[in-house]
């Protein structure tokens, strides 16, 4: 059975069917991309996966257990973590604190430990801080740990968000347009980083409009249009798929 299995999920807003019986599967250690025109329902799928929206019908199973009735605050615990299409950091906290919040659920000390600064508190705080520094180093923000998140340029803020998602020790990471607002060089770096993540054993689902990123990195691609899945397959198949070209990619690229 697939690692993450989405079976015919539907979401309606009033009369609008934003996601219409969409099914897909993700295997462990895969990078799967979801692409599709604006308003196709991609972000909505992420919101359903993470419990932000309840699903109207269908089911989602992760590692064999159904998760579609899980509250959003419990999704991370199960092992799914995400970034947002519009960056949502904790702007007045430092970069390292942002990432430490990500480690929150993996930090087990309690109220009493906090008040009495028990060895357990000290040990765990140290462990998690080291972990946060390690993640930030690996994403290239090692020199930024002391900065307040809001003072970072856009591209770096995106990276902090990814770092924070990784810090939850999630097994699956959902990235919603991580390369938006990055220039070609920066998205190149990002590409490298996402690959590294996969190699370290993370499973990644990616929403992205930057075809350079999508085609280079994805193991498989699903295409959504008007809430429905219209294609799936290897990058090369998708790039050549007539329906996808019409609905999404548009005419011949000018600058290919």
């Amino acid at each position: 059975m697939a690692y993450l299995k989405v079976n015919s999920i539907t979401k309606q807003f009033g009369g609008l069917v934003a996601v219409d019986k969409v099914s897909f599967e993700v295997e462990k250690d895969e990078i799967v991309s979801i692409i599709g025109p604006n308003g196709a329902g991609k972000t909505t799928i992420f919101n359903m996966l993470t419990g932000v929206y309840g699903i109207d019908s269908g089911e989602i199973t992760f590692d064999g257990t159904p998760i579609h009735n899980t509250m959003p605050q419990n999704i991370v615990d199960i092992g799914i973590s995400r970034t947002f299409q519009n960056i949502r950091l904790f702007p007045n906290m430092r970069v390292i604190e942002n990432v430490l919040v990500g480690t929150h659920i993996r930090t087990k000390y309690g109220f009493i430990d906090t008040l009495f600064r028990t060895p357990r508190y000290k040990r765990e705080e140290a462990q998690k801080t080291l972990r946060a520094i390690e993640i930030l180093n690996s994403i290239g923000l090692g020199n930024r740990i002391n900065d307040y998140a809001q003072n970072l340029p856009y591209g770096e803020q995106r990276k902090v968000e990814i770092a924070r998602a990784i810090a939850t020790d999630a097994k699956i990471i959902l990235l919603d347009e991580p390369a938006a607002g990055m220039n070609p060089q920066e998205s190149e770096e990002l590409l490298r980083f996402i690959r590294e993540l996969r190699d370290k054993g993370y499973t990644i689902i990616l929403i992205e409009h930057d075809m350079n990123v999508v085609m280079n990195i994805s193991d498989r691609i699903y295409v959504i249009d008007h809430g429905k899945k219209i294609a799936e397959g290897l990058p090369a198949d998708i790039a050549g798929n007539q329906q996808v070209i019409e609905a999404y990619l548009g005419g011949v690229k000018k600058d290919a």
Binding site: M93, H104, I105, E125, T129
Partner: protein, 352 residues
Amino acid sequence: MDKNLEKGKSKNFILILESFIEKYKVPIAGVSALILLGLPFMGFSQYIMRIFIMIGIYSMLALGLNILTGYTGLVSLGHAGFYAIGAYTASLLSLKLGANFLVAAIGGAVLAAICGLLVSLPTLRLKGTYLSIVTLGFGEIVKMILINWDKVTNGTLGLKNIPRPSMFGLKLTLVNNGMYYLMLVLVALITLLCTLLIKSKIGRAFMSIKEDELAAIMMGIKTTRYKALAFVISAFITGITGAFYASMIGFIEPNSFTFDISTLIISIVIFGGMGTIRGMFLGSAILIAFPEVFRFLMDYRFVVYGLVLVLMMRFRPQGMLGWKSQMPYKLPKLVKESLKKNNKDNLKTQQI
């Protein structure tokens, strides 16, 4: 342009100030402790000593509210309610059951905390203003209960002759400065409590809720639980302060706990610098001392007081001491050690 250069400087100034404090923190702490402990011997009148105690009381109240408003972002306009609950419960425990101060104060604080929980539970879904108005309502409802529940609270007549605390067989009063020292102990304990909480995953969870609740939820933080916790801790601190206040003043009535008290506490929090601990002391020192110092203004006293609030917000909206730390993040000791070791290891491997 000049103005901005100045701004740049002031930023540097904060860094310099902070490094200075960091460097000399032991002597600074020592001297402040000495001054605080020595105040009663400096020949101040009882009236002045009483103002010091009031400043201490409001520092505690501000510290309590700061947990909720400054760190968690939940604006309470009804903290006078928790204050009243602490004061009344403790007073009743000592008047009717003869409980000693410690027991009475903890009783008051616990009941306030329970009320904090009760207020928070149904209201945690509420956002911003909606939450604020509920807390405001809570404060008014507490007052109504105090007024109408004559049998227990003695209604508008209030409670009189609330005993002073006695410790080790000594009755603490204003005259023997016992109340002053008890205040210092309480302020120290509450400050410690706040500091410990803030520098932990609990504090970070509070702050993340303030910054972006949805993002916090998506990080797996059980925001409802933490918001309730913030309420409980805040109410607990406020309740204990109420108990102390009652035993200091000896007489409480429903009108001691009006909406004005709630707004005064929140003004102190913002005036001092929301989300900082240092600001609470300065904020209460200024706002409590102000009406006393400016008694000579007579009728205009509270006009000027209002003016001070307005001007302060105009020129320092982040509060007197409300700057964000410019110092590097304080890494836990263990982390620093292991980072050092790693560096050395790296060097070694490089050398080899």
